[in-house]
Amino acid sequence: MRSIRAAAVGAVTVSLALAATACGGGSSNGGGSNDSPKTLTYWASNQGASIAVDKKVLQPELDKFEKQTGIKVKLEVVPWSDLLNRILTATTSGQGPDVLNIGNTWSASLQATGALLPWDAKNFAKIGGKDRFVDSALGSTGAAGKDPAAVPLYSMAYALYYNKQIFADAGISKPPATWDELVADGKKISAKGKSPLGAEGSNLSENIHHVFVFAKQHGGEFFTADGKADFTNAKVVDAVKQYVDLMAKDKVIPTGDAEYAQNQSVSDFAKGKQAMLLWQSASANLKSQGMSPDQYGIAPVPVQSGTPGTGTQVNSMVAGINLAVFKNSHNLDGAAKFVKFMTSDAEQKILNTAYSSIPPVRTAQTDAAFNSPANAVLKDTLAKSAAALPQVADESQFETAVGTAVKNLFADVAAGRAVTTASVKAALEKAQQQMPAK
């Protein structure tokens, strides 16, 4: 009896405390201001070999910016594993950086939260206008018909990296241009005891990037025109099956890669264990692992045999990093200045060289520094045959759901289970049902 009364008292206390402290409900994210014009906080994504490398690349540039404008930029390089969570919590709390890097595929998802400053004509005017950026990069900055949620910073595209020595040993004279050629070459390479192609089977984003391109090559889409998930249409199923079959049927991807999620396939390639790698802007990465640029060649990612063929058929996603401004920044003018600085021709050249990416800014792209054979392939791909991932609010859930489905299919292959059209379809069906109902 006594304890019941005491429990009631406790419950009341709790609810009172709740009312007092929490019923403010989230945060009152008002608009931004210019209350603190002298400082900015900047979250950079981890682009270089390590966080320390990023700091070394970025800090001198930030110092330059401070000298020019008197604004001190506090830099934090956020590891990829944390970045999305940190952005989410910053969004929820309204306590975040002023300027931040986002993976460009997240643009539409983050746009939907309303936390990012929309880049309307007025804001674009502050940084020199929308026309400064190439179209492919702008295509991955938010949902169609809405003001972009971010500005392109670094562009990247997938390419086929191949080990020249292994190719020569296997008697292959030129890199494969179609998947059929790749599979045929793979047999020759396997015969020499090397593994043909690498993949990151447990990395959800990598899986998504690849099956997206395969779907495009099959003429399929993961989302209908009005933005509904449509993962089980025959073309998408075929596309996913073709990718998984590279391991299951064609045996060009070793089963061990099914558990890779931390770029082990890049080190396999750098160590000369594996002949080919499908990767975005891997040069700097390979160099830091001791593989010199003359040891490998770069070619466009293979396409399907027949028409439309190489050069026109989609063979990469538009990969890259966008720069966004938090709406409730206390230094909106400074943030705009910083974005202008980071997207200026001079900085674009320095930063994109350091990260072996391609500048999304037209004038910077023409610089001689980006005319190396490697960059030529990437530039060409971006200009002609790269497509942006679906710019829908559910993109982030799509990556998780379908990426996990592909991961599980790879795990099935690794366990020796058969992968059939039916099993692929079932996996995608399940993924689709996990998407938010519309």
Partner: protein, 329 residues
């Protein structure tokens, strides 16, 4: 728990009060308020960090808290029981996945707690008598428990790798037990990988507690049993194990709750998306909230989990304390 067996506590002290006649009144008031004052810091902190957030979490579970509303969750629409309906609709994928995850967690927890207890108890009993190297061995056995979770689990990740890991090296290359190297971090084997790590990390706690429990068993009991002609094994069965019962009651409950709610081990072992065979509920809920950005459904799942644990704990305590009372008589 021990709170139920507390002795009637000290009620002030008449002697002390008598000697200080003039301050008697204030003394009584202070004494009446003192326990509350002593509890206050703990109470405030528990309210702040556990209870209030829990209530907020319950509130959230009734809201549609998707990416469109997280910026100002006060404005998120109420969904009534919507999130709960989605979570327990076991015919639809979300509910089905939650149920699957729940069963995996139950199986994992029972096995892990059972093995931890078994190994811990056996080791404690075997090491009751002094022998050479006992101190060293005891220190060694406590190392897995003392290691920070991250350091311990990441070592196991290294060992469980398919191509380069120690486990496959031993099982496949050296002992030739398998036809080909197995996958431990993806697919069905991931359950056993998780179990192994969990037991490796958890059994020393059971060892520690049982070791302490053994020291409370009066030596006379053994002597009496020995006089009756009971051998070593019989003594263990008739005296040691029954005497450990109260200790085990608490130990098993604590292990159960810790293992059931364990997030760190699966998260470090598998990352953000755990294989289906090892999809523990805490990681599942984490994924439901953080990776798919649906904090309402995530909260509803957490509340369901909490209710389940409340029921289990309540039933367990009711059963064991009744057993204990009759045992005491």
């Amino acid at each position: 728990m021990t709170t139920t067996t507390l002795k009637e506590p000290l009620r002030g002290s008449p002697a002390g009060a008598a000697t200080r006649e003039p301050r008697r009144r204030t003394g009584r008031i202070r004494r009446a308020g003192l326990p509350y004052l002593l509890l206050l810091p703990a109470l405030i902190l528990e309210l702040l960090v556990h209870l209030v957030p829990m209530v907020i979490g319950i509130v959230m579970s009734f809201k549609e808290l998707t990416q469109f509303y997280i910026r100002d969750w006060g404005t998120a629409p109420w969904t009534g029981l919507g999130n709960y309906k989605v979570s327990v609709d076991f015919d639809a994928p979300v509910g089905e996945a939650l149920l699957h995850s729940f069963f995996v967690t139950v199986a994992f927890t029972l096995l892990s707690v059972g093995l931890c207890w078994l190994i811990g108890t056996a080791a404690a009993i075997y090491m009751q008598d002094t022998f050479t190297g006992r101190g060293l061995l005891r220190a060694l056995f406590l190392v897995p428990y003392a290691l920070p979770v991250y350091a311990a689990v990441i070592t196991w990740v290294f060992m469980f790798q398919h191509d380069n890991g120690l486990v496959n090296h031993v099982l496949h290359d050296q002992l030739h037990l398998t036809d080909k190297p197995s996958f431990w971090l993806i697919g069905d084997n991931s359950f056993y990988a998780l179990l192994t790590v969990s037991v490796w990390k958890g059994w020393p706690f059971a060892f520690l507690i049982v070791m302490a429990g053994l020291q409370n068993i009066p030596g006379e009991l053994y002597e009496a049993a020995a006089l009756d002609g009971a051998g070593m094994w019989q003594q263990i069965r008739r005296i040691t194990l029954p005497s450990l019962r109260p200790v085990n009651q608490v130990l098993l409950l604590v292990l159960f709750l810790w293992t059931f709610n364990d997030f760190n081990t699966p998260y470090v072992l598998f990352g953000k998306s755990a294989p289906e065979a090892a999809d523990l509920i805490s990681v599942h809920i984490y994924q439901a909230s953080f990776v798919t950005w649906n904090f309402g459904t995530g909260s509803a799942m957490s509340v369901l989990l909490l209710l389940f644990l409340l029921v289990v704990t309540g039933v367990y305590l009711a059963l064991t304390s009744r057993g204990r009372r009759t045992g005491d008589v």
